[in-house]
């Protein structure tokens, strides 16, 4: 039985969750932009625009401490950071393109070795997704097989209604539980969903794109599209699915902190060996890795794609590189194998 919630009650729900001691994260105005950020009260929820950065930082923060160390005459002491201390979280009003990335990232953070920093946050977070009613010309979720009301990754899903408020569907047990504990804020019933966003780019043939990538590691395309690439990390850092990171020690000889922080395969030094040798020495090789990782390597490894069509990389690229355009171009390319190897 579907339920509905008014906008006012959605904000009261946030207040109630905060009062319970939960960390509540949702779109919040932050100066000139909107960001997914901790909400102190429901009033702070700002649904006007797509947050500038994706929701991935709810699980995979820009920078986090993985240990601290101290060294003195007695020796070295290492202090562990227990991922178990991560607080219970509710991610509220997250866009389908952001939410869909979370289960995709589960694969890399859990194959074989378990990154509990990520996984514990995933376990302890309930995600309330929100259907999208407005797209801009960079949005392309439909092109990569998602949709503005895709519930992938959501525990609870809100659909805006024409006369205000939201229809609310429990997708998982976690979602059911949240509904049950705050039943008084929801009403029984349905409603007329507001028209969904309509991203302009049509559905891409992702299998055909994958087949081309399988045989075109060497191709003039990489030079053509990446010659203009400036080699910054804006695309990767705004992406909901990019997961590369660095591990660094910061501090001194006697004490300091080891941190894990976002990194980007577009950076020139990303793969540089200490000897000076660099397997991905020029920008086209690095850009190729970006596309290959998202649409081939991750598919080969985990049968999923590292792109949800949120369009952030397109909006943020300083030099106008448009991944949706590149994918469209690849989709129409001749499938004859290139000169390189698979």
């Amino acid at each position: 039985m579907p339920k509905t919630i008014t906008d006012q009650n959605l904000r009261l729900l946030i207040d109630a969750l905060v009062a319970e001691g939960k960390r509540v994260v949702g779109p919040r105005a932050a100066g000139t932009m909107t960001l997914y950020a901790p909400l102190a009260k429901g009033e702070e929820l700002n649904l006007g625009e797509l947050p500038r950065r994706s929701a991935k930082e709810t699980f995979f923060p820009l920078c986090e401490t993985i240990l601290t160390y101290e060294r003195d005459k007695e020796g070295v002491r290492v202090t562990d950071v227990d991922p178990g201390t991560i607080p219970g979280t509710v991610l509220v009003a997250a866009r389908p393109c952001d939410v869909a990335a979370a289960p995709v990232l589960d694969s890399v953070f859990s194959w074989d070795f378990k990154d509990e920093f990520f996984l514990e946050r995933r376990r302890k977070t309930t995600i309330i997704g929100l259907a999208c009613t407005r797209a801009d010309d960079a949005c392309f979720c439909t092109a990569v097989g998602l949709s503005p009301n895709d519930t992938k990754g959501s525990d609870l899903f809100l659909t805006p209604l024409t006369d205000g408020g939201y229809r609310c569907d429990a997708i998982t047990e976690k979602g059911e539980a949240l509904l049950a504990t705050h039943a008084s804020l929801f009403a029984e019933g349905d409603g007329t969903p507001a028209p969904l966003a309509e991203p302009s780019l049509g559905k891409l043939d992702l299998d055909r794109i994958k087949a081309w990538l399988d045989t075109h590691f060497e191709d003039p395309l990489w030079g053509e599209i990446a010659e203009r690439c400036a080699g910054c990390g804006a695309c990767a850092f705004l992406c909901p699915a990019c997961h590369c990171f660095d591990i660094v020690d910061e501090g001194g000889e006697t004490k300091g902190t080891r941190r894990k922080s976002w990194d980007a395969c577009g950076f020139g030094k990303f793969t540089n060996h200490a000897s000076g040798h660099n397997p991905r020495d020029v920008q086209p090789q690095r850009y190729r890795n970006r596309i290959m990782h998202k649409f081939k390597y991750y598919v080969d490894k985990f049968d999923q794609r590292l792109c949800t069509g949120c369009g952030r990389c397109i909006r943020a690229c300083p030099v106008g590189i448009d991944i949706a355009e590149i994918l469209s171009a690849i989709g129409t390319r001749d499938q004859e194998p290139g000169t390189g190897k698979d």
Partner: protein, 309 residues
Amino acid sequence: MTNTAQTIDPALYAAVTDAIRAEAKKVLEAGAAAAVVGWQAGRRQGTAMPAIITDPAKVAELIFSPACVNNLALYLSKAKKEIRARGRIAIVVKGCDLKALVGLMGENQLKREDLHVIGVVCAGVQRAGAAKDIPLSEETIAGKCRECTVHTPEGADVTVGTLPDLPHFTPVESEELSRLEAMTPAQRWSFWKEHFARCIRCYACRQVCPFCYCEQCLCDRNRPQAVETTPRPAGNMAWHIVRAMHLAGRCAGCAECERVCPMDIPLNLLNRKMAKELKELYGHEAGFEVKEKGPLAQYREDDDQSFIK
């Protein structure tokens, strides 16, 4: 020049587009340039991006519009050496972009004779995030264009376009700088601290800057580690101070750093403040003549020493 209309007549951009294409065709066909670095339209309506054209049959891809924000001098810096390796390059520049070329020549990064400079008369470009494909207005024009003094580039091999009458725009950059200067040092410190705290260290500012061409950026160096690499307040502050100091006297104010910052940090405000200080202290302005060394890269006996205490 003022006009009573509130917007800039788009006819200028169309005329300049035609002239760029004609010039590009001419130099490529004559072999006077191996490639033309210009702008082309993006997939999305009203967007543009850098283009590197080598085939005379493809010059029709070149455009000029208020979306042509990129400073293409980036593609001639050492950071993009594979482009220079093609031979003599023709480059399309706005007045503000040309200042970067002049600076790069001064730093012996470029030789004038290796370039064919196609100057375009520019009435302005869009601010980041502005609605696309509508005539430039108070609402949509970039901050740097409102007080532009280089609508017509000087010293190009060919300059195309005729500047129309321009509306009066609010000088937001001057106002912003005045507000900054009115602050106490403590207020200014907290102003910048707050802005830099948002930095995510994507280095978009560095990567689009024509002057950030160091093969080994101080911030990528780890023996010793001069600047912490994680996006935390101390390292962010250090990085932005390094950036500002390294650009002082060199930055010609194209404002690309500020335009591309995904976290909306007003980086060009800092650059402009530094430029103003250098003008007041040393009478130096970057980007107008080919000079080997700016004031912060040389020592003179008569330099002001009063700050040493």
